[in-house]
C-alpha cells in the first residue's frame, strides 16, 4: 500500500499554492481500503449484469413475433404484380392535349360491349316482337342476373323496346349508349353531379388540360352495379425484415 503524505494546500494572496500550516486534519471515519475495493467490485458486478442483459436482449430481439400469415415478410416490386398497367397510358387525344387551361377536351373510351359483337342490338331485335311482360329471360340473355334497384325493376325500364340500339329516359327521350350517364343520373343525381365535375370516378390526363374519363358502365355493370371486391396488392415489408427481404432467405421461409 502506497503511503501518501497528506498535504493540505490552499491559495495564498498572490495566487500561489502553498502548504497550510496547522494541525493535520482528522483521518476519515470509514476504513479506507476495504470499502473502496468492495464498492468497485459492486460496480463491476452491476456493469457485467447490465451488459449481459443488453447483449441477451440483442440476441433475443430482432425478427419479432410475426407469423407468415400476417403479411409483410417479403418485398414485392411493381413488376411482380402482373395484369396492372402502371405505365397508365392515356387515350391518344388526351396524350396530345396541350397542358394548359384548356376546356372541352374530355375523351371517353367506347361503352362496354359495344365492340364485343353484341352491338348493334337491332341486328336481332329489329325482327323480333316486343314482349313487355316482366319475366326472367330464358331463351337469350339468361346469363344476365339483374341485381339493381327495386324488386320489380326489369330490362325495359332502361332499354328502349322499339329500338334496342338506344336507351330510353323516363320522360321518353332516347339517348345513345355513349350518354348512358344521363340514364343513370335520373336516379343517382348526386353521384351524377359529382361525376360530371370529376369527383366521382377515375380520371386520367392533365389537371389543367385534356382529360379522359369513364362512363358509369365502365366500372359499374349496369345489371349488377355493386363494386366487386378485388385482390389487394402485397403489403409492405415489415421493418424487422427490411434488410432480410433484400435476400432470398425470408422468401423461402414464407413458402413453408
Amino acid at each position: 500500500m502506497h503511503q501518501q503524505e497528506v498535504v493540505d494546500i490552499e491559495q495564498n494572496e498572490e495566487g500561489y499554492m502553498e502548504k497550510k500550516t496547522g494541525p493535520d486534519p482528522a483521518p476519515p471515519k470509514s476504513d479506507k481500503l476495504l470499502p473502496g475495493s468492495s464498492s468497485l467490485a459492486v460496480l463491476l458486478v452491476v456493469f457485467m449484469t447490465v451488459s449481459f442483459l443488453v447483449l441477451f436482449s440483442i440476441i433475443r430481439g430482432g425478427v419479432g413475433h410475426v407469423t407468415e400469415s400476417e403479411g409483410g415478410i417479403r418485398a414485392f416490386g411493381p413488376t411482380e404484380v402482373t395484369g396492372i398497367d402502371f405505365e397508365i397510358e392515356l387515350l391518344p387525344g388526351t396524350r396530345e392535349a396541350i397542358s394548359g387551361p384548356e376546356e372541352g377536351d374530355y375523351l371517353v373510351p367506347p361503352p362496354p360491349w359495344s365492340e364485343s359483337g353484341f352491338f348493334p342490338c337491332s341486328d336481332c331485335h329489329s325482327e323480333m316482337e316486343v314482349n313487355p311482360e316482366h319475366r326472367v329471360l330464358e331463351e337469350m340473355h339468361d346469363d344476365i342476373e339483374l341485381v339493381h334497384g327495386p324488386a320489380d325493376r326489369w330490362c325495359l325500364d332502361c332499354h328502349n323496346p322499339d329500338d334496342r340500339d338506344v336507351l330510353r329516359l323516363v320522360n321518353g327521350r332516347l339517348i345513345s349508349f355513349d350518354e348512358s350517364y344521363l340514364l343513370c343520373g335520373q336516379c343517382h343525381g348526386t353521384i351524377f353531379r359529382d361525376w360530371r365535375q370529376g369527383i366521382h370516378g377515375r380520371r386520367q390526363g392533365y389537371w389543367n388540360g385534356g382529360k379522359s374519363y369513364l362512363l358509369c358502365a365502365h366500372c359499374h355493370n349496369p345489371h349488377a352495379p355493386a363494386f366487386h371486391t378485388i385482390a389487394p396488392l402485397p403489403p409492405p415489408v415489415r421493418p424487422q425484415f427490411l434488410a432480410q427481404a433484400a435476400q432470398e432467405e425470408v422468401q423461402e421461409a414464407s413458402h413453408e
Partner: protein, 404 residues
C-alpha cells in the same frame, strides 16, 4: 511563447503516456475496444445505416439516446463549478478542473454519436456557419451544433489554460479563467436545454412534446453526471497526493440528492399527467412501463431504471448512507445506470413507439450499433484518462510546491 507551447505539448504527452502496468493495460483495453468499434463503424459507413436496427418507424434510437445522455453528463460538470466559484467553496475549487475534463470528454463523445448517426457524414460540414447553410433560428439541431461546439471550445480553453500554466509552474490568470468558468454555468444549462428542445419542440411525438422535458433533462443530468466524478475522486484520493477533502465528496453527493429529488418529482408529475388525463398519448408511457399488445421489450429496463433512481435517491438522501463510501458508490452506479436508461433508450424509443401512424416496431440495438457505441465510449474514456493523467501531476506539483 512557441517554445513554451512546444514544451507543453511534448511534456504533457510524456506525462500522459507514462504510467504503470495497470495504466498501460487500461489504455490497451480502451484501444482495443476503440478498434473494435471503428471496424463496425467502417462497415456501417460503407453499407449505410441498415446495419443498425433503426428503420423508418423508429428512426432515432441507440446513437441519439447515448448522445442525449452524454450531453447531460457534459452539462453536469458545472455542478462542481457552482459551489466552487459562485459560493467560493474551497474544498471543491481545486478539483473543479476534473469537471471540465469530464465535460470535454463527454462533449466529444456526444458529437461522435451524432456523427455516426447521420446518413451522410461527409456532409456534416454543412452545419457550420458561413461555409454551410445552418437553418438558424428555426432548427433546434442547428442550435445544438452551435452551442455544443461553443461549450467544447469554452471548456477546452479553460482546461488548456490551467494545464499550460500549471505545467510551467505559473499561477493561472484568474481574470481569464474565472469569467470563463462562470460563463460555463449558463452554457451548461444552455446546451442541455437546447438538446431538450430538440425533443420537446416535436409536436408529432407527444411523449416528448412536453414543457417539462427541459427541466427533467437538467435534473437528470445534474443527478447523474457527477457520479463519475465522485468515483474518480475516490480513486484519486487513494492513488495520488492530491488532497480531495471528503467534505467535497459529501457536498457533491448532497447536491446530487437535491437534483435526484427534482428528477423524481418531475417524473412523477409526468406520470400523473399521462395516467390521469388518459388521452391517446398515454400509449407511449404504457408501452414503456407495461407494454402494449404484447410489445414489452423495454418494460424490464424502464422499471430497472426507476428502481435504480429511487434507491439511489434514498441512499443519497440519508446522511448515514451518503457518507458511507460503500453505499455511496452503490448509489453512484445505480443513479448512473438509471439515468443512462432514462435519458437514453427510455426516452427515444417510447417517443417513437408506436410511430405516428400507430405501428409498433420493437427496436433493439444490433451488435454493430453496440460496437460503435462501445468504440465511442472508449474514445471518451481514453480522452478523459489522458487528460486526467496530465492534470494530476500538475495539481500535485502545485500542491507540494516542487516536482515529486
Amino acid at each position: 511563447m512557441i517554445k513554451d507551447i512546444a514544451s507543453f505539448i511534448t511534456g504533457s504527452a510524456r506525462i500522459a503516456f507514462k504510467g504503470n502496468a495497470t495504466f498501460y493495460a487500461w489504455i490497451a483495453f480502451l484501444g482495443l475496444v476503440f478498434l473494435w468499434g471503428l471496424a463496425a463503424w467502417w462497415n456501417q459507413f460503407q453499407q449505410g445505416l441498415i446495419t443498425t436496427n433503426m428503420r423508418d418507424q423508429v428512426s432515432w434510437a441507440f446513437y441519439i439516446g447515448n448522445f442525449t445522455f452524454l450531453v447531460g453528463v457534459a452539462a453536469a460538470a458545472v455542478m462542481l463549478v457552482i459551489p466552487a466559484y459562485i459560493y467560493n467553496w474551497k474544498p471543491i475549487k481545486e478539483i473543479a478542473i476534473f469537471g471540465e475534463l469530464l465535460a470535454v470528454s463527454a462533449i466529444v463523445m456526444s458529437m461522435l454519436f451524432v456523427f455516426v448517426d447521420v446518413g451522410r457524414p461527409d456532409r456534416v460540414w454543412q452545419l457550420m456557419p458561413f461555409i454551410g447553410t445552418p437553418n438558424l433560428p428555426s432548427s433546434l439541431l442547428g442550435w445544438d451544433v452551435m452551442v455544443l461546439n461553443g461549450y467544447l471550445a469554452l471548456n477546452l480553453l479553460i482546461v488548456l489554460h490551467l494545464l499550460y500554466t500549471g505545467f510551467h509552474g505559473r499561477p493561472y490568470k484568474r481574470n481569464f479563467v474565472v469569467p470563463l468558468l462562470l460563463l460555463s454555468i449558463p452554457a451548461a444549462v444552455g446546451i442541455h436545454t437546447v438538446t431538450a428542445f430538440v425533443y420537446a419542440g416535436t409536436a408529432a411525438r407527444p411523449f416528448w412534446n412536453s414543457a417539462i422535458l427541459a427541466p427533467r433533462f437538467l435534473a437528470s443530468a445534474f443527478c447523474s453526471g457527477p457520479a463519475i466524478l465522485l468515483i474518480l475522486f475516490q480513486i484519486l484520493q487513494r492513488t495520488t497526493s492530491i488532497k480531495i477533502k471528503d467534505e467535497a465528496i459529501w457536498k457533491i453527493a448532497e447536491l446530487m440528492a437535491y437534483a435526484m429529488f427534482l428528477n423524481l418529482f418531475l417524473f412523477g408529475a409526468e406520470i400523473f399527467r399521462e395516467y390521469y388525463s388518459n388521452t391517446h398519448h398515454l400509449i407511449h408511457t404504457q408501452y414503456l412501463y407495461s407494454g402494449v399488445h404484447g410489445h414489452d421489450a423495454l418494460v424490464p429496463y424502464a422499471w430497472a431504471s426507476l428502481i435504480c433512481s429511487v434507491v439511489a435517491f434514498l441512499l443519497f438522501l440519508i446522511p448515514a448512507t451518503r457518507t458511507n463510501l460503500v453505499t455511496l458508490n452503490i448509489g453512484c452506479v445505480l443513479i448512473f445506470a438509471g439515468v443512462y436508461i432514462e435519458k437514453g433508450m427510455a426516452l427515444v424509443i417510447p417517443g417513437m413507439t408506436p410511430d405516428t401512424l400507430g405501428e409498433f416496431y420493437e427496436y433493439v440495438p444490433t451488435l454493430s450499433e453496440v460496437r460503435v457505441g462501445a468504440g465511442i465510449f472508449a474514445v471518451g474514456f481514453l480522452i478523459f484518462t489522458l487528460l486526467c493523467k496530465m492534470a494530476i501531476p500538475i495539481l500535485q506539483d502545485a500542491a507540494s510546491g516542487e516536482s515529486t
